[in-house]
């Protein structure tokens, strides 16, 4: 799977309140949440993000609340994947569980600039900066989590387990 799009850069410690403020959490409708995605970090983001675009951020992306509305909002806004220096742990789990591809890569988080054209080869864990002709590695995903992705998310994985009686 290749994800390709324009990079939007954010700093360190982007919290889930910035990704989707609690004032919008009286709904879990993805389309509604997408309208306010990243609003408190960049009010213009929901209007300017294009399908396929990629969020590139510093350390500890998604820290704070456990709200799954955060990766849901990013996914529904059309963002194809998120690259960060590191991810907060609940966000990391949530992203896999709902099928938002995320890649941990300190070198990509450093090297990519806002507006760069980026292509991510998920299978090989390689991130290409097409604008600058650079290539970065992503931290490999644990095998168990690859199974979750292959199954199409945690719920499908669990549903199969339940069906097979294991």
């Amino acid at each position: 799977m290749i994800y390709r799009g324009k990079a939007w850069k954010f700093g360190a410690d982007v919290d889930t309140d910035a990704i989707i403020p609690a004032r919008y959490l009286n709904t879990s409708d993805p389309a509604e949440l997408a309208k306010h995605c990243m609003e408190d970090a960049d009010p213009e983001f929901p209007a300017k993000v294009q399908p396929g675009d990629i969020i590139v951020a510093g350390k500890n992306f998604g820290c704070g609340s456990s709200r799954e509305h955060a990766p849901i909002a990013i996914k529904a806004a059309g963002v194809s994947c998120v690259i960060a220096k590191s991810f907060a742990r609940i966000f990391y789990r949530n992203a896999f569980n709902i099928g938002l591809p995320i890649f941990e890569s300190p070198e990509a988080a450093e090297g990519i600039r806002e507006g760069d054209e980026v292509a991510v080869d998920a299978g090989r864990g390689v991130i290409q900066n097409l604008t600058r002709g650079e290539e970065y590695r992503a931290t490999p995903v644990p095998e168990f989590m690859q199974q979750i992705i292959a199954a199409g998310g945690l719920i499908n994985y669990v549903a199969r387990r339940v069906k097979s009686g294991k």
């Binding site: 309140d17 403020p21 709904t27 949530n94 669990v158 339940v162």
Partner: protein, 421 residues
Amino acid sequence: MGMTITEKILAAHAGADRVEPGQLVNVKVDLALGNDITAPVAIREFEKIGVETVWDRDRVVLVPDHFVPNKDIKSAEQALQLKQFARKHNLTYYYEVGRMGIEHCLLPEQGLVGPGDLVIGADSHTCTYGGLGAFSTGVGSTDLAAAMALGETWLKVPESIKFVYRGELPRWVGGKDLILYTIGQIGVDGALYMAMEFTGPVIERLSMDGRLTMANMAVEAGAKNGIVPPDEVTRRYVEGRAKRPYQFYQSDPDAHYARVYDFDVSKLEPQVAFPHLPENARPVSEAGEVTIDQVVIGSCTNGRLEDLRQAASVLRGHKVNDNVRLIVIPGTQQVYMDALREGLVEVFIEAGAAVSTPTCGPCLGGYMGILAKGERCLATTNRNFVGRMGHPESEVYLAGPAVAAASAVLGRIAGPWEVVK
């Protein structure tokens, strides 16, 4: 090589003799928790799994607390989903307005969590129960849905960091100050994916309320869990309260820690975390002249009886500053009743405070105390991110109840000794 308390609890729930940091384990959960923001998503996902009902109706707990009493129609509909699900699946522990509390104040108080438990909750502050010597951690709604169906979840065994607190805690310094100081030392990702184990003579003398406050904010350092070794303080708290058998685990003397911090806190001052990260902690005497518009005393971090007692001890006989709104939110109905009987509520109202029914409300910018553009709030809550309590250009400062009460009286960030002479 020995094991840490966190590793022992995970091993016991994985059915293994031992586990190693980094290992992925499938564990049985003792309790799974959701609230009015996270449970609606979990219920939607649960219904896709294909099971008839939850794995154990005594162990799936739903607490509407974030936007209740319902703040608007959409919130009402979310809360209604919890109620309908609880009725349909005959859940034993669903807490309606008037009987509820802020989930992480309520569950320990009601004896639903105990030492040695493994608890997951779709709320990041689920790590609070580490104060009881339990392993507990926050997850998302989909993880909660899977646990509601299976009674299991998968976890990566975390490395542990040991914090040793020595010396004698000065007056006015408590659990909140210890944890803000600690986060200030290691940063908001200083314990990313790790367990924070709080130990030492100061912790041994710390009340259960103070321990719950410390474990509550482990997530603000990025940790998977915070944990306090259970002892006599723990035993006294859980005896006659715990609804299930519990077990005390202790770290082995030769357990491995990724890092060990040793803090002498004899000269520690009450701490204030400046905007916009909890790691921006500094002693209150170094706060400078910061005027404030609002003070909130409450939340899953500091909404317990000891917190209200401390706030009242500062406020007694004083008035809230003309420029300040003081909002006091007892963590549970029981805390509210106890505060009422002790005369604390009277102290708050005489001082000019608003006293609310239990709710997370303003802590996450939900309702019941939202900030306008440019306003500043000092709160006993847990996060001071941009826009956390309202307008993106408002500010939140974090502190314990004594500093909060003193600041409400003086209209600026202040030490309690400036009010209580």
